[in-house]
Amino acid sequence: MGTATAQSDDITETDIVIVGAGPVGLFAVFELGLLDLKCRLIDILDRPGGQCTELYPEKPIYDIPAWPEISGQGLTDRLMEQIAPFDPQFQFNTMVTALERLEDGSFLVSTDDGTKVSAKVVVVAAGGGSFQPKRPPIAGIEAFEGKSVFYSVRRMEDFRDHDIVIVGGGDSALDWTLALAPVARSLSLVHRRDAFRGAPDSVNKMRALVDAGQIDLHIGQVAHLSGTDGQLDRISIKDKGGDLVDVACTRMLPFFGLTMKLGPIAEWGINLNENLISVDTEKFQTSEPGIFAIGDINTYPGKLKLILSGFHEAALMAHAAKKHIAPDERIVFQYTTSSTSLQKKLGV
């Protein structure tokens, strides 16, 4: 972390930047909101909920106090409802890449889309790390990544007139098959089995393109990549019977789901302990004053990776963050049940 002064005009300002919109980041908005602190949440996913909505939206959770049973999606929806009065700002599809401490002690947060946010306090609620595309188990694929193997499509034009191979059986694979078929020189979809997880409508459209001879469908697994200097020219597909089929390929898009990686957090100059952020259990502050860490990403003696524990951490962190921002202000401890001033903030 370096020290600098904020200069550019296109910097969004907020009291608190929360890195990660999982359940714990979401609940932090509530606790911080009661103390009049405005939050902006940044997440690489395209929606709130973190692991709850990405990994188990429909599975029941049984250990949320007072909810004998609630699904990952249900919990997220409830949290969104609960924090709505505080009008949090969300920035999705965005990875927080860097943190810089400014001369006045506040922070400048940089993201992978080039936007910057200035904040008095940063709360890292990054869970198991940022969700990133899984690398498929194909030998030597690293050498082609970023040159002819991509895990997302930023500009369709970059794929025009290429021999495109898309690997996977979910919605991303199907959606991009349909979208890129018209611009590709050739397009092959490769999937391990002849059943697709994606929306039935997309599956039908894909099969229609196959029947019309506009794209090829290969049932099998990619076994081998060939090319030079990162540029693919062909791949071999091992079909069900174990035979190898060669397919021309100058652009490959594997869609193998997401995995959590610590990502850029490791470079933010805060003390880590086995890829987790060390915090104290009074303030949940990291080794850097003004940077807090709550939820699955932090570690301290006795830590349990439970949503419930993350909620507790959020409450204590909020008070510490308020003191960090306004050291001279006296914080009056109040209950939402009886405090008219808290109820006014909640709009009830």
Partner: protein, 106 residues
């Protein structure tokens, strides 16, 4: 109760007594069988508990359900006898079960 043998990629055998109703994944974790990660704790949401069921046992363990098939798409080197071990429930029927742990989990 069933005896389950896990054979890791280097050929080491780990024999474990597994109580009925538990899963093949849970017994691997409890007994620290290397190579089974089970990141999601058995929710069929991670595909890091992938095993190959010994050919002699595939009948008894049965076919994966649709959700498991979907998750297997994300596993490494999937074969016809691939299963997610968190989705195999132990019964007396499975006494003697042999599963192989793949070289790596996704």
């Amino acid at each position: 109760m069933a005896k389950i043998t896990y054979i890791t990629h280097d050929g080491t055998q780990h024999a474990v007594d597994a109580p009925n109703g538990s899963t093949v994944m849970e017994n691997a974790i409890k007994n620290a069988v290397p190579g089974i990660e089970a990141e999601c704790g058995g929710a069929c949401a991670c595909a890091t508990c992938h095993v190959y069921v010994d050919e002699a046992w595939t009948q008894k363990t049965g076919e994966p359900e649709a959700m498991e098939e979907d998750m297997l798409d994300f596993a490494y080197e999937v074969q016809p006898n691939s299963r997610l071990s968190c989705q195999i429930k132990v019964t007396d029927e499975l006494d003697g079960l042999v599963v192989r742990v793949p070289e790596r989990q996704a």
